[in-house]
């Protein structure tokens, strides 16, 4: 979902809202390194690039 205020995430937001409107608690965590995370990189992409080199 990354950013609640962004346009590209509308579809994910709607899907989550549908479940929430039916009584489900929805938790959608962002990856570390995305949105307002203080991590300057994303761990998965960094590990992948290290393996290639």
């Amino acid at each position: 979902m990354t950013n609640l205020q962004g346009d590209p995430n509308g579809e994910a937001l709607i899907m989550a809202a549908v479940f929430a409107s039916q009584g489900y608690i929805v938790v959608a965590p962002n990856y570390a390194g995305y949105d307002s995370s203080t991590l300057p990189y994303h761990p998965t992409s960094s590990l992948t690039s290290n393996r290639r080199t």
Partner: protein
């Protein structure tokens, strides 16, 4: 769109009388029973405590706005009924210009009810909130509501921040969204006995 936003910004200064009129309209519509409302609560957690979040009292979140979507129970198309604002300084107060703004942007429950206040308030609506409302309103076109069923609960949307670790096991933070159902329905309060069957697929009238 941009021109209309400019017009609304200029018209905000003249919103006194139209606000009172829209307030009366909003309360009259709340008394009607042929609407099913979905409240979308937007909240932001306290930045000074990014890990612990209060989810049981959304009214304590500062500057939380509530967009109220309505759908005719027996009608095919959802429409916008009203939008209001909740803050920690007042429990619940109407925001009539926003009502007219959303009504102007999305299909209205009563066509022709558009007024001057529609242009007055649109400038105050944040873009992402408007887009969410429009997207929810478009659910009928996507036939998603036909699968999920009529919405039962209000939704409190929280932007959360939590502590986690990075690739080198260093401490860091990340963000996310949490939606908590609200409302008087047992499914929204966690007291329903068989809520797990709520999202079961429903047969549709269309034949493949």
């Amino acid at each position: 769109m941009r021109d209309s936003l400019v017009r609304m910004a200029l018209a905000i200064r003249n919103r006194g009388a139209t606000r009172q009129a829209a307030l009366g309209t909003w309360y009259r519509r709340r008394k009607r029973r042929d609407f099913r409302c979905v409240n979308v609560h937007w909240g932001r957690t306290n930045a000074r405590s990014p890990v612990r979040h209060r989810t049981d009292r959304p009214s304590r979140v500062a500057h939380t706005s509530i967009a109220v979507l309505s759908q005719r129970v027996n009608g095919p198309d959802p429409c916008v009924e009203s939008i209001s604002v909740r803050s920690r300084f007042s429990r619940h107060f109407c925001w009539p210009p926003a009502v007219e703004a959303i009504r102007a942007l999305a299909p209205s429950c009563e066509p022709g009810a558009r007024s001057v206040a529609a242009d007055t308030a649109r400038a105050r609506i944040h873009g992402h909130r408007t887009r969410l409302l429009l997207a929810l309103n478009a659910l009928a076109n996507q036939q998603l509501l036909a699968i999920s069923g009529t919405p039962l609960c209000d939704i409190a949307v929280y932007n959360i921040r939590y502590a986690t670790v990075g690739g080198a096991n260093e401490a860091t933070t990340a963000s996310g969204a949490m939606m908590v159902p609200l409302g008087s329905d047992p499914d929204c309060r966690g007291t329903a006995r068989s809520s797990c069957t709520r999202m079961a697929p429903r047969p549709t009238a269309r034949s493949t």
